[in-house]
């Protein structure tokens, strides 16, 4: 099975504190970066498939040089090669990024393409399904289980309220992966070092026959703003004993017990 997994590097949202002066980006001072959680699950799914059925995994991304670190992690996890299209498109319209990935992936040989269902930063949930349509292959979003047999893939898609929808899809196909589908393995530093010898290829937009002009966004960011405060919670403060005591009394007075 030849699998392509598309991954993204995102800031740890726990560190996100505020908006910068331009009002079009967040303050980037003390941000730490990591691989998008959903993409970790997608990589793990790919690695588990490869362990069962053999084949190869290519990890791809579109981003600047700093994004090599997540590709190295993907290689350490079990990807055989990695490709980065050297262009910072984080603030771009998903449609534009999808065009780049389409141009990249259509020239690779693959049976299955995996994306995380969404990213922790912008959470659009668009990219994977857009790329599927551009590649002209069937897709299913929010996969929570998958099994490959006889050139087809059996997928369960997550719906609301605990329901699942199941499909049999002909390969090649594209899936977007939901969290909880597996337990992504830990990547030790030793693993990352050992993976340094694996191939990490860097390409440019022009290598793909594209340029920023051909990728003009249709959706434009006007500004960022802080969400309105809404009703404030009444904060109980003090030592743990004091707050526990106060809360217990509030609950008792409210008739909870």
């Amino acid at each position: 099975m030849d699998i392509v997994v598309c991954i993204k590097r995102i800031p740890d949202t726990a560190d996100v504190v505020g908006i910068d002066a331009s009002k079009k980006d967040i303050e980037k001072d003390s941000l730490a970066f990591k691989i998008n959680d959903w993409d970790d699950y997608a990589l793990e799914a790919a690695v588990q498939l490869k362990e069962k059925q053999g084949g190869s995994i290519t990890a791809v991304t579109v981003g600047p040089k700093e994004w090599d670190d997540i590709l190295r992690r993907a290689l350490a996890m079990g990807a055989d090669k990695a490709i980065r299209v050297d262009q910072d498109m984080v603030t771009a319209d998903c449609y534009a990024v999808a065009k780049v990935l389409d141009a990249l992936i259509r020239d690779l040989s693959y049976n299955l393409v995996l994306f995380g269902a969404q990213s922790e930063d912008f959470g659009c949930s668009q990219l994977g399904v857009m790329v599927a349509e551009m590649l002209g292959i069937p897709h299913a979003a929010l996969a929570v289980s998958l099994q490959v047999a006889d050139g087809r893939i059996h997928v369960s898609r997550e719906l609301e309220a605990g329901m699942l929808e199941s499909y049999t899809i002909e390969l090649p196909a594209l899936l977007t992966i939901q969290t909880g589908i597996n337990r992504p393995r830990y990547i030790s530093l030793g693993g990352i070092k050992r993976a340094m010898s694996k191939e990490l290829q860097v390409m440019s937009l022009s290598d793909l026959g594209l340029s920023l002009d051909t990728l003009a966004p249709m959706v434009r960011l006007e500004k960022l703003e802080l969400p309105p405060r809404g009703k404030e919670a009444e904060l109980i403060s003090g030592s743990p004993e004091e707050t526990a005591d106060q809360l217990a009394r509030i609950l008792q007075n409210s008739g909870i017990f």
Binding site: T13, A14, C94, Y95, A98, A117, E120, D121, F122, G123, C124, Q126, V129, M130, A132, E133, A140, L142, R157, E158, L159, E160, A161, G162, M163, L164, Y167, T168, I169, E170, A173, Q178, T179, G180, R183, A216, M218, V219, L221, E222, K223, L224, L226, P227, G230, K231, A233, L235, I236, P240, T243, A244, L247, A248, I250, L251, Q252, S254, G255, F257
Partner: protein
């Protein structure tokens, strides 16, 4: 055409709540802009749905197809693409549900139309559409506009728009659609419902809900003790189920259950929207989390910013003491 088109989703003999919510929003936008609101519903037997949708929409396209199952992305995309290319609505509204996520992006590419997903606000001024999205896990809002174009597709966040009462009698147009294409490359096998174990969190008066902040399966005991003291049961957010600490029937949220207890006590839960949407109906929401910036505080009635491992045992003890 100057109109707003809403795609209605349905499953198991019911229209999806989010469809009615965006329909209400669509009604509002259409009224303000002085244009029509069209609803599209697609399925094997849609006349009942069409009548319901006609209470809001000026016109309902009730599309009957042969394929089994209800709202499935693949056949819907084929049909909608044909309808939209024909009618060219200014704005297409779809719920940001699992169905919406499976449908909207590929539909947008097929129509070469701009798409903004999971929007928490939508407005139309003259001819331009502006949307707001919630990003960075609820910490920041982003406002977007679109380049001039014929059709804009927007998906709306579940639970964000109020579903308002309406009593029109819109026109219903019945359409019989024969799908030309063979959709055998993506065959729908059926629905699977979660197994119901012994626990039904939707019936409890008190829920002690745990999140990633619980650190380890062993610590569930601490939450169970508190739940026992309060006469309630333990619930959780998604990461707890993903990590295998509790079975899925305890999960509150979008892909889990919606609950309305007297007390929802959230321990070590950050409050991603997908979780909080399931508990907003609770009578009292109390949050204990050591991160003062956790989004869940914005839905809380009471909050304690402290380490759950310090507060919870003290709280359990105090409750037992007060009970006498």
């Amino acid at each position: 055409m100057a109109e707003i088109l809403v795609v209605a989703e349905h499953r198991q003999q019911k229209l999806a709540d989010v469809s009615l919510q965006i329909l209400s929003k669509g009604r509002q936008l259409a009224d303000k802009a002085g244009i029509e609101l069209i609803a599209v519903v697609i399925g094997a037997d849609v006349s009942g749905y069409a009548e319901e949708l006609a209470r809001w929409a000026d016109k309902v396209l009730a599309v009957k197809i042969d394929t089994p199952g209800e709202s499935l992305a693949e056949p819907c995309q084929k049909i909608l693409s044909s309808i939209i290319k024909d009618r060219k609505p200014k704005l297409v509204l779809i719920g940001h549900s699992s169905f919406g996520m499976d449908l909207a992006p590929s539909l947008a590419v097929e129509l070469d139309a701009p798409l903004a997903t999971d929007c928490i606000d939508i407005s139309m001024q003259n001819d331009s559409i502006v949307v707001t999205r919630s990003i960075y896990n609820g910490k920041v809002n982003a406002v977007y506009s679109f380049v001039p174009c014929e059709i804009v597709i927007v998906t709306g966040r579940i639970g964000e728009f109020a579903s308002e009462e309406s009593d029109r009698k819109g026109e219903i147009e019945k359409i019989d659609f024969r799908l030309e294409e063979d959709l055998g490359y993506k065959v729908f096998e059926g629905y699977i419902e979660q197994e119901v174990g012994g626990v039904d969190i939707t019936q409890a008066d008190v829920l002690v809900s745990v999140g990633r902040g619980l650190k380890d399966k062993e610590n569930i005991e601490m939450a169970e003790e508190l739940a026992r003291a309060l006469g309630g049961i333990v619930a959780c957010s998604r990461p707890v189920v993903d990590s295998g600490w509790l079975p899925a029937e305890h999960q509150v949220g979008l892909s889990g259950k919606t609950v309305k207890p007297k007390l929802y006590l959230a321990l070590g839960i950050s409050g991603a929207f997908q979780h909080t949407v399931g508990l907003k109906g609770s009578e009292m929401i109390v949050v204990i989390n050591k991160d003062a910036r956790a989004p869940i505080f914005s839905v809380a009635d009471y909050g304690i910013v402290d380490d759950i491992f310090k507060v919870v045992p003290a709280l359990t003890q105090k409750i037992i003491e007060l009970k006498g």
